[in-house]
Symmetry: C2
Subunit: 307 residues, 2 copies
């Protein structure tokens, strides 16, 4: 089945306790595409880039079954640029530079050829832009997944609330779930969010794993304990890409299958953090992914008889 | 099989965002005993209390199969008293009062009747005192489990290092594992600790669950996502009590069985935090425990086929 993925394709400059990069390729839709394309083709990309976005990167994505018909190229502007510095715990970071560049004009138009996609992944963007994408689709996808961030809760809460009414699954981190609801308990936060529109909620907790909620059930997937987290940039988007990639591959949106999709997403995210940017994602093979998923099974597998 | 549990029996006064208590019964060995006695009898308690420790509490423990021959009662001194205030996240707290009282003179003597116990649980105490207990045992237990805290890393590191050489399993929280090794990565910290003596390591991460390591394997048990954490005091000791209680009940110290023991410990800890002090632990039935363990199974259960 096909996926539409909407988000940024951009440049990042990253500093971690392990080193720093010059400008490297990043952006939420880039990570989603590299992760999802391991599982499903086509990934129908919707984004905007400037004249400076590398042609080789476009070619590499195409070779993985990523369609770029929905990627607008602005010939006289630069691509979106973000620069940040991670703290030692790798769970928090300071933004050093945000140059919107082409992103300031991003008004995504869904190509006619993308219509009919069964899955929609809305990367973190202005909530009104996310909603405009949903409204352009002539057939409602089977599953609409949305990412967002604290910034929109501060400057565009009414739009965010409206957009939430139209999505099936919200994906946020623990701090965002708390901010969105004013609830410290994640269980209470989840109950509140499930009343805002989404039927499913994923709360990402970084090195502490991820929680999946629906009205009656909860699933807790651990993160793989890693010796080194080299660069967490894109880990959340890579998780999202693996998640929706698995769902689209199987076409099954049951809670049981979402659990599996979270394990797949977590496995992909665990690769992402091993090198700067999407470098590691470009290297991994199906055998690597299978081995990593097997590690997850072993990590949490236990048998217990109640006697 | 029998367990010797060494630790404090004390009073606590606790403030959380949900309320505050006057002086209530606490202490590491109290929590260990309430948790472990659900699974194994006898629990052979080693502790020290003052004239003020409630006789009814002693009777209640006895009725649960906890032997008190190793609990010294000092008739002219008060019991150990700790008072603390939890922050909103419940993962951090300020100590308001620490009155050592009888604990200043604690030189535990293992009763002859306790000799031959297969399991030893060393609650957080002066490392030299923990070591003196080990040295008093005429037959080495099958498994020696030890808790400790950051304070001893600051004031008694050489003693702590010496004691670590004599134990099989160390149980610490994530901050303590980092402080003990100077490693931020928990995987690296685990590798370092497993070179200090213990063959097994449990890193407790509070609401984020617990990790079990041996030389080659790792297991990640989640914590149950709870709507309210009312009072975390004693949760770590309750976890330890459930853990060693399950191991002693089954007599099996394989890595596989330690995984089960961690789930049992996590289930017990999830009860502990539901009310102030050990209140909730006194109420729970075998049926409650079985239901909670079943919830853990459902929480992390997933099936995935690699195709």
């Amino acid at each position: 089945m096909s996926v539409i993925s909407v988000g940024t394709m951009a440049f990042d400059a990253i500093e971690t306790p392990f080193g720093k990069t010059d400008q490297i390729v990043g952006g939420s839709a880039t990570y989603v595409a590299y992760a999802a394309s391991n599982f499903v083709k086509p990934v129908q990309q919707v984004s905007i880039v400037g004249f400076d976005f590398p042609k080789e990167e476009m070619e590499e994505l195409k070779s993985r079954g990523v369609l770029l018909d929905g990627v607008e190229v602005i010939e006289d502007k630069k691509s979106f640029f973000w620069s940040g510095r991670y703290h030692e715990d790798m769970n928090s970071r300071d933004t050093l530079v945000t140059d919107l560049n082409v992103l300031a004009d991003f008004n995504p138009v869904i190509p006619e050829s993308y219509q009919g996609a069964e899955f929609l992944m809305l990367g973190n963007l202005v909530p009104a832009v996310q909603l405009s994408v949903i409204k352009q689709l002539t057939t409602r996808p089977k599953l609409i997944v949305m990412d967002t961030m604290n910034f929109w809760m501060e400057v565009a809460m009414p739009d965010l609330e409206e957009t939430l009414k139209h999505v099936d699954l919200l994906m946020v981190n623990d701090a965002e779930a708390r901010q969105l609801t004013g609830q410290f308990s994640l269980v209470k936060a989840a109950k509140s969010i499930l009343k805002m529109g989404p039927k499913y909620l994923i709360i990402k907790k970084g090195e502490h794993g991820a929680l999946l909620f629906n009205e009656n059930e909860v699933f807790y997937a651990p993160a793989l304990p890693l010796e080194d987290v080299f660069d967490p940039t894109g880990a959340g988007d890579t998780f999202a890409g693996g998640f929706i990639g698995h769902l689209a591959k199987t076409g099954d949106i049951s809670f049981e299958n979402m659990k599996r999709a979270i394990i797949v997403g977590s496995a992909m995210a665990s690769f992402c953090v091993e090198k700067f940017g999407p470098t590691r994602l470009k290297e991994v093979t199906k055998a690597d992914i299978d081995r990593r998923i097997q590690q997850f099974k072993e990590l949490i597998n236990f048998e217990i008889e109640l006697v």
